[in-house]
């Protein structure tokens, strides 16, 4: 009986161990690779089969298997290869401009377009207000209308 219990405990531990290990790295190697550049070939890491790219992929896999978090792995790669390894510019320092400028250009364009549209509509001033006919014109109109009736 005791042997059976021990055997079951060993089996349970053996089965649960890989599950526990798998739970330590909750991020996808491929996802991180898709966020990185091959620093030598200036293409996305996953589009490169260069020796350098293969080495970086191996490092990512090693860190993943060692239970490193995605953030820690990314930071390590940046420390080794520089921020140029990131496919998207970081959202701090001077590189923040790369994120802000497109939005600022769009916003500025929208404001400028609105201001121009208003300016044009004001300069056109719309149709001129009809002026009431003067006395002579009124009499002539009346006369012609009276003539039409006959």
């Amino acid at each position: 009986m005791i042997r059976r219990v021990v055997l079951l405990a060993v089996l349970a531990a053996a089965v649960s161990a890989p599950v526990a290990n798998a739970a330590t790295a909750t991020w996808s190697v491929t996802d991180l690779e898709n966020q990185l550049m091959c620093p030598v070939c200036n293409t996305l890491l996953n589009n490169s089969q260069s020796t350098a790219a293969n080495r970086i992929r191996a490092i990512i896999q090693q860190k993943h298997d060692a239970g490193w978090s995605e953030t820690r792995t990314r930071s390590y790669l940046v420390s080794q290869y520089g921020e140029e390894i990131l496919a998207a510019p970081p959202k701090h320092g001077f590189d923040l401009l790369a994120w802000l400028i497109p939005g600022a250009v769009l916003l500025g364009g929208a404001v400028a377009a609105t201001a121009l549209a208003r300016s044009w509509s004001r300069s056109r001033g719309g149709e001129p207000e009809p002026q009431p006919p003067d006395d002579a014109m009124s009499r002539r109109i009346d006369a012609e209308l009276a003539g039409d009736d006959t």
Partner: protein, 169 residues
Amino acid sequence: MLLLAAMIGLFAKSLLDNHTSVAAEIADGQHPAAPNFTLPDISGHGSTSLSSFRGKVVVLNFWASWCQPCQTEAPALQEIASKFGDRGVEVLGVDSQDATSDARAFAQRYHLRYPLVHASGTGIYQRWGLTAYPETFIINPKGQVVHHFAGPVTGQTVEQQIQPLLTNA
């Protein structure tokens, strides 16, 4: 106004980034002053500045551990360092676009005993005008870059370039 300032900033940065590289100046027949850098040693202890070798002939080698031709030339560079070390020649290896752990393993494998530093990022790569690994520059005792090898070197080709500098020193 903020947008305008940002645009000017980007323009200024692009101008700074695109200044002429050392390799391009050498190709034009010039002998530019070697741009200084201070980089951490691959051992993780301390750092080394290029300017600390002023007065010596410097064989500046850019390499990476994953680069096959770098493996071919590594023994020749160590031989140069051993043979000319007491005659005022310093070999300095700059490991770039590489992991320092891989660089350390490379240095052990090839028994490299000359100073080896690590550069992260592509700034130094662009400043020196590198296009592939390995590349080697010869710097005279005045701190001027006088020769550029694109591709692997041999002991003989390096010796040919440094011998006249030693005679003139």
